[in-house]
């Protein structure tokens, strides 16, 4: 069975929040919407989002590194949030592994949000139901969209292509390849939730430059003005002249 998921490349995420806003934009007007906002233009705005980008500082000054960390429902293969739901409103689709909430069944008891170790679920204070990332299920199968746009809104909007989307059960897919070749990992593996979303670690790219690569030893246009010692011996040129 397929398992659709996101693979997020922390090495290229620049923390621009484009995925956060495009997610909200798509989903508030889609099947999951509207997504409530409280005091959107006042002090302390708050609201329901499916996706957040957080920022961490790693290391101690001056040897620090900034990590931007997008976080949304990981569509776990063993989702602990699903069996605890008393109404069956939370479910995992067998055909593509997407974990969804049926807003018509949810009674808003919030128990599932306690059972998600990642804090990926957010209660909608207006509609009084539990919401979470749907992997844009109302977009990725939309036959009216051109095939290359049948991707989650966050993936479409990411300016650095930090978000890859595909089937992690298909070993030949782009996401599986990325996980395999670029050290893809899961969050909190200790709980056995088997998150489908993976993260690609930050990588250090070093370019080793030797001294003789900075000055052009062959000096074709005499630009560096390097004058090599000339040989005192008779050379071929002397001989020919």
């Amino acid at each position: 069975m397929a398992q659709l998921a996101l693979v997020i490349d922390l090495n290229v995420c620049v923390g621009c929040h484009a995925c956060v806003t495009s997610c909200k934009e798509w989903n508030t007007s889609g099947q999951a919407g509207p997504m409530f906002d409280d005091r959107p233009y006042d002090e302390n705005p708050t609201g329901t989002f499916f996706n957040r980008v957080q920022t961490y500082e790693i290391g101690t000054f001056p040897n620090t590194e900034t990590l931007h960390f997008p976080k949304s429902c990981l569509h776990c293969e063993e989702p602990p949030c699903v069996p605890v739901c008393p109404t069956g409103a939370s479910y995992k689709r067998t055909e593509d592994g997407i974990v969804l909430v049926d807003y018509n069944k949810c009674i808003g008891c919030k128990y599932c949000s306690w059972a998600c170790p990642y804090g990926a679920r957010e209660f909608d204070e207006k509609q009084k139901v539990m919401k979470k990332c749907t992997l844009c299920v109302d977009r990725i199968y939309d036959q009216n969209l051109p095939p290359n746009e049948r991707k989650p809104a966050c993936v479409m909007s990411c300016p650095t292509s930090a978000r890859l989307f595909g089937d992690v059960h298909d070993p030949a897919s782009e996401v599986s390849l990325a996980i395999r070749e670029r050290g893809g990992y899961q969050l909190m593996p200790e709980w056995g939730t088997k998150p489908s979303n993976h993260y690609l670690p930050r990588r250090k790219t070093h370019l080793r430059i030797h001294e003789d690569e900075l000055v052009r030893a062959d000096n074709p246009l005499k630009k560096e003005d390097i004058r090599h010692e000339t040989s005192k011996e008779v050379s071929l040129d002397d001989w020919l002249m």
Binding site: V20, R39, E43, N44, P45, T46, G47, T48, F49, R52, V53, Q54, T55, Y56, E57, I58, G59, T60, T66, L67, F69, K71, P80, P83, V84, C85, P86, T87, G88, A89, K105, C106, I107, G108, C109, K110, Y111, S113, W114, A115, C116, P117, Y118, G119, R121, E122, F123, Q127, K128, V129, Y185, Q186, L187, M188, P189, E190, W191, Y199, P201, R202
Partner: protein
Amino acid sequence: MHPAFSVIFLTTLIGVGQGFFLALFTVESYATLKLIPQQDHVSFYALGSAISLVFLIGGLIASIFHLGHPERAWRAIVQWKTSWLSREVIALPLMMGLVFLYGVAHFFNLDVNFLQLPEFKGQLTLLLGILTTIATFALFICTGMVYAGIKFLQEWANPITVVNYILLGGASGFCFATLFAVFQAPDLVLFYAGWTVIITIVALITRGFSLYRNARLKYSSNIQSAIGIRHTHIKQKAMGFMGGSFNTREYFHHATVFLFKSIKWIFLILTFLIPTVLLLMGLNGEKNLLIAAFVVQYIGLLFERWFFFAQANHPQNLYYQTV
């Protein structure tokens, strides 16, 4: 976790109702074995069942305030195969129905001679009482497992949570029974007060054990496993928003360290110490002391439940460290 008042009242009120029913039925079983005199069907058992039912209904009403869509609450019975919450939703009305039948059987003094023993009176109420006792314990177990069943809420994920729910509910129910006996069966005051003190002391031991355990808990998750970066110095700089979210509201108690610590001592004193002293002082049937014992213990249990929720540290909090 954020302690929601609806759940605090739900669990404490049904605890009293369940414990009080058990107290009533304890007397009936003792009386059947002729260890203590039988009580009046109407003024003791039927009235007692009605009061127990009032506590259970009170809890049910409190739970409604916890739901976003109480009008669909009936849907919560469908996932009983996997969800302890669903099982609790089934067990509560089941127990209420049985308490009701138990009260009705006593009120009309109904009896059926199941065992073909004409001398053996009260077989129907005994049978109903046994069934209700089973339902009562089933409800305690469901309530406890709703919390103990979430393995990464490590403060809760232990059988001691279930034991505490049973004993604390039992203590408050027997404490109420003592008060009830003052008015309806003065010869039982000593009996109930004795049991209340015993259950309260055992509950202190088990609750104390869970406090001890929680103080020494080793968390399985840390910020390194949460974001998958192996580095000893990781500091969150931004949570992704400034005005708070469900994540900062639902999983944090937002009380100061001082208040949090004081509530622990408040609940220990109010739930265990003062009621025990008051009960021992009130053994001669001094009404006001026994009333005070129940009221103080119930208030203590409200603090206990607040602390129970507030103490649970959800792993998602690792992602929200600049709250």
